[in-house]
């Protein structure tokens, strides 16, 4: 029986990671940027699960749970900041930022 090569799963993670990266770079809405960062983080998590299954170790899945919980902490701070930004600017568009420059 043919099995799927493990590299394909890693490739999937890499593709997801690139999608997230492109999202962060191209989006102008802060919430969507945060969402794209989440995609990147979860792609890294998927890569860990794949690597863990290659070596038949639990480490990869443990690491994935760590990534999930850290991402949750990050998002909670991020959303609080976005809320405050909306409060001050009435917008979540990065164009309304830009107070920091010469």
């Amino acid at each position: 029986m043919n099995t799927i090569p493990i590299e394909h799963a890693l490739l999937l993670a890499a593709v997801l990671f690139s999608i997230g990266l492109i999202g962060v770079v191209s989006r102008k809405n802060v919430i969507l940027m945060l969402l794209s960062v989440e995609i990147m983080l979860n792609a890294a998590g998927l890569a860990f699960v794949v690597a863990g299954s290659r070596w038949i170790q639990p480490d990869g899945q443990v690491m994935f749970i760590f990534i999930l919980s850290m991402a949750a902490a990050e998002v909670s701070v991020g959303l609080a900041l976005i809320l405050q930004m909306f409060h001050l600017n009435k917008s979540v568009d990065t164009k309304t930022l830009g107070k920091l420059c010469e």
């Binding site: 890693l10 945060l34 890569a47 170790q57 991020g78 900041l81 920091l100 010469e102």
Partner: protein, 479 residues
């Protein structure tokens, strides 16, 4: 691995336990009753206790548990961070009274961030490295945006959050690739596997991504875009924390990682690091030349300083790690001094960050002006200051490793650096013609003044008699 923890081990882990317990206790107190003076003193006591337990553990034999290594190296860095945390806390009381309406949580986040940074240096495993890095980062997000009524602070916090989360993702993907290739997350396991397989493509890609993620925290050149904005937008105490403890933690973590995993055997990685170092020095200095905002200037100059540290880093086996650690100490002292003064001169109207604010400062505040001059001399690397000795050690390590091109760049950049540092001094000694703004500074002996005196003594001590500290570093640092 399955044994229960012994009293001895508990004692050796005490610096980290204290940094965890201190803020938790403080949190309970804040929940019951808010009191700024109490929180302030309690935090200083926490840092003092951490320092005390570091000193009392310093001569113990090193402790190796599955996630952390507590040896002289990690204790040295932990002690250093505790001192920096203590000094920042000294500045913080007056500063928060002037600027913030919620004061107490600042201290919690400060101690947690210091804990993250200290654990990064102690990590001997990618799992603990990642977790401690996140403890540091998540505390920093909220610290940067701490003055939440200011649009600038929110903008800086959001920028840092998105970019830091992105860099964490890059770092994590790199770790995942290394794990995929070697089947181990501990440095030792990876090094053992690497000895048999060599540098495979997955491994090189993974290490490159790890270096990129670390480079973001260090704000070296291709990853430096956040630096100036975050330095300017966050309040000056947090800025000094980012410039010192956060970067120092990453440097320490990298030193530990690369003493076990020998990436310097691979020529392409060394080449990439060399390019990063050279580009950081030049781009940092050239961008700093054009700044009229002191915080932005220091941000760009920090990029250049990290470039200098990278030189020490590349000359790894030749005393480079000692030089990097010494340079960090020297840089810590000067940076703390610079941002400490900015925080002391800041009023509730805004940060004292514009360079014209310092015009004629000498005629109004001679002591502070003399101190800023000392800091600028040290940053520029004038003899008798810590900055000079730091550069000297870096250059010595570079000579031993035959990095002539980088040393030439170091010399050129030191000259460029002198120009913009001296500009600040010239500004302070020029006549006050348009100084309608008066500097309000609390009178007499306040806590910030104490910190400034300590920093000034450290700059001169490291500059005049470096061998005492250097001996301690050589004894502690990994080779």
């Amino acid at each position: 691995m399955n044994k229960l923890i012994t009293t001895q081990e508990l004692f050796q882990l005490m610096p980290y336990i204290l940094m965890l317990a201190g803020p938790v206790i403080l949190l309970v107190f804040i929940a019951i009753k808010r009191n700024h003076i109490f929180s302030w003193i309690f935090t200083m006591a926490t840092f003092a206790a951490v320092l005390f337990s570091v000193i009392s553990n310093y001569n113990q034999s090193s402790l190796e548990i599955s996630l952390l290594t507590i040896d002289k190296f990690s204790l040295l860095y932990t002690g250093l961070f505790a001192v920096v945390g203590f000094l920042i806390t000294l500045f913080a009381h007056d500063y928060l009274e002037k600027t913030s309406d919620h004061k107490e949580e600042f201290y919690l986040l400060l101690v947690f961030a210091t804990l993250g940074s200290s654990l990064m240096v102690a990590s001997n495993n990618f799992v603990s490295l990642f977790l401690s890095l996140e403890v540091l980062s998540v505390s920093l997000y909220s610290l940067i945006a701490y003055l939440r009524r200011q649009e600038q602070a929110i903008e800086a916090g959001l920028k840092y959050l998105i970019l830091a989360a992105m860099s964490s993702a890059v770092l994590l993907f790199g770790i995942a690739l290394v794990y995929f290739e070697t089947g181990s997350l501990s440095y030792l396991g990876i090094a053992a596997k690497m000895d048999s397989t060599g540098f495979t493509p997955y491994l090189i890609a993974g290490l490159a991504m790890i270096i990129a993620g670390a480079g973001f925290k260090l704000s070296v050149v291709p990853f430096h875009w956040w630096t100036a904005d975050v330095y300017q937008g966050s309040n000056s105490l947090v800025t000094s924390f980012i410039a010192t403890v956060s970067k120092g933690g990453m440097v320490g973590a990298m030193i530990r990682m690369f003493t076990i995993i020998h990436v310097f055997n691979n020529e392409s990685i060394v080449l990439v690091l060399t390019i990063i170092a050279a580009a950081s020095m030049f781009i940092g200095n050239i961008l700093a030349l054009q700044q009229n905002n002191l915080k932005r200037m220091l941000a760009y100059s920090s990029i250049a300083h990290l470039g200098y540290i990278m030189i020490a880093f590349i000359s790894f086996g030749n005393g480079g790690t000692d030089a990097a650690t010494f340079y960090l100490m020297a840089y810590f002292a000067t940076t703390l001094g610079a941002f400490g003064v900015i925080s002391m001169l800041t009023t509730s109207d805004g940060e004292a960050e514009n360079i014209s604010f310092y015009k004629g400062l000498y005629w109004r505040k001679p002591v502070l002006a003399a101190f800023i001059s000392l800091v600028m001399f040290s940053l520029a690397g004038i003899p008798l200051t810590s900055g000079f000795v730091g550069k000297f050690f870096v250059a010595t390590a570079g000579v031993k490793a035959d990095l002539w091109v980088l040393l030439f760049f170091l010399a050129v950049n030191s000259v460029i650096g002198v120009y913009y540092y001296l500009r600040v001094i010239v500004m302070m000694f020029s006549n006050k013609d348009n100084s309608e703004e008066t500097i309000i500074c609390s009178k007499g002996l306040n806590a910030g003044m104490l910190a400034i005196v300590f920093v000034a003594v450290m700059i001169l001590y490291l500059g005049i008699y470096p061998s005492g500290v250097m001996g301690m570093i050589q004894n502690a640092v990994l080779h």
